[in-house]
Amino acid sequence: MEQSDLSGKMDHQEAELLLGAYIIDAVEANERTAIEAHLSDCTKCRSEVDTLCTTIGMLANEGGPAPAGIWDRIEHEINESEDVVAFRPPQHSRLRIPTIIASTALGVAAALTLIFGVQIHHLDSQVNRLGSQVTTSATRAIATAALLQPGAKRFSLDSPHGKSVGSLVALQSGEVVLTSFLMHPLKATSTYQVWAIVDEHPISLGLLGNHPTVSVFHTGGRHAFEFAITVEPAHGVAQPTGAPVATAAII
């Protein structure tokens, strides 16, 4: 019987013992959940899992051809999915992203500038860098490109009621990409403003406008582990005037 604390997390010793069984899917569903909760906090166990992945991949690599007919069914299913079709951008707007992957030296902001013509510019003395918004047809590609950067981590933006209202991707370069934002548009006299919480003080990262899509920020080398979004007058403010409408914590 696994040992869990009151929050349902498995203790390190038990989780470590189960890592082998976990990585080859030989644990029960409740154990899998408990181990994954532990892995989110334990770099040592996470490292062991990552180390063993390639070996497991080789163990799993049986090879051989797929039987005829499966591809036709896959193609049929993805073309029949109304949800996918509804959000599919037009063919001609598909943009070339592989350059981003090929050049790890490029930060996402720089790569987006290259590929999409997105300009990164200073807004005010408090603001570091803010990427201007891009067309919605490119947002999915940008979000994916950001996620595919080595070391990228995605975090949920949550409302005060705990509802997920968007997501951020934090990159090793210090850039932060707002990859989705589901809150309602504001009047033209207002804007969403993004803040990094550094040493318990809010530092403005920039203005999102009244109808945000994908945007890129830079933390300017500061170690920010929390981000907040507030609603402010259209010109932005030096300090928040109200409570956050969304927050994200980077663990």
Binding site: L17, L18, L19, G20, A21, I24, D25, A26, V27, E28, E48, D50, T51, L52, C53, T54, T55, I56, G57, M58, L59, A60, N61, E62, G63, G64, P65, A66, P67, A68, G69, I70, W71, R73, I74, E75, E77, I78, N79, S81, V84, R88, P89, R94, L95, R96, I97, P98, I101, R140, A141, A143, T144, A145, L147, L148, P150, G151, A152, R154
Partner: protein
Amino acid sequence: MSQESIQPPAPRRRKSTEPQLHEMSDASLVVAVARYNQDALAEIFRRHGGAVHALAKRVTRDQALAEEVTQELFVRLWNEPERYDPARGTLRTFLLMQTHRRSVDVIRSEEARRRREQNESASIAATSYDIDHEFGDLADREAIREAFKILPQDERRAIELAFYHGLTYREVAQRLEQPEGTVKTRIRTGLRRMNEALVSWKVVET
């Protein structure tokens, strides 16, 4: 069992400025999938569909279930390409680990379990080590075969029953009539031992 080779889906409508799909890296193909490039998904299927299906078949021991798992995996990659993180391993490893997990989940459902047990009830009990079973890539096959060989019999047996037959460590313990803790340790120790061997042979990187 149908073992017809699938013909790679024919390339369609390509701009002359785009790189040929067969020349693109897996990571670039995933990015193209994120841009709803269906031909890129077809190319990924051409590269890895056989391995995905073979593993699903090996674990589920059911042709129909294996095809369902294969279809589900590639549809999921189409819908959620961002789940693949190239920093954490190759696309094939990612797909195979997803395939294994899904296959295990499928066979643990009661209905699937009944079907599988009808098909294979005797064979598990009588199974000898599957080391000689066909593995895919030749170099990988040889390396993993050698890595398996260095394991003590108890570790090898525990890993084989858990990985290829989809048993939990508890089920493995019951089948081998060994304590659960012993089986947990043997699985982990055996995998680490195999990994260390593959690293020392420079088959995998640290």
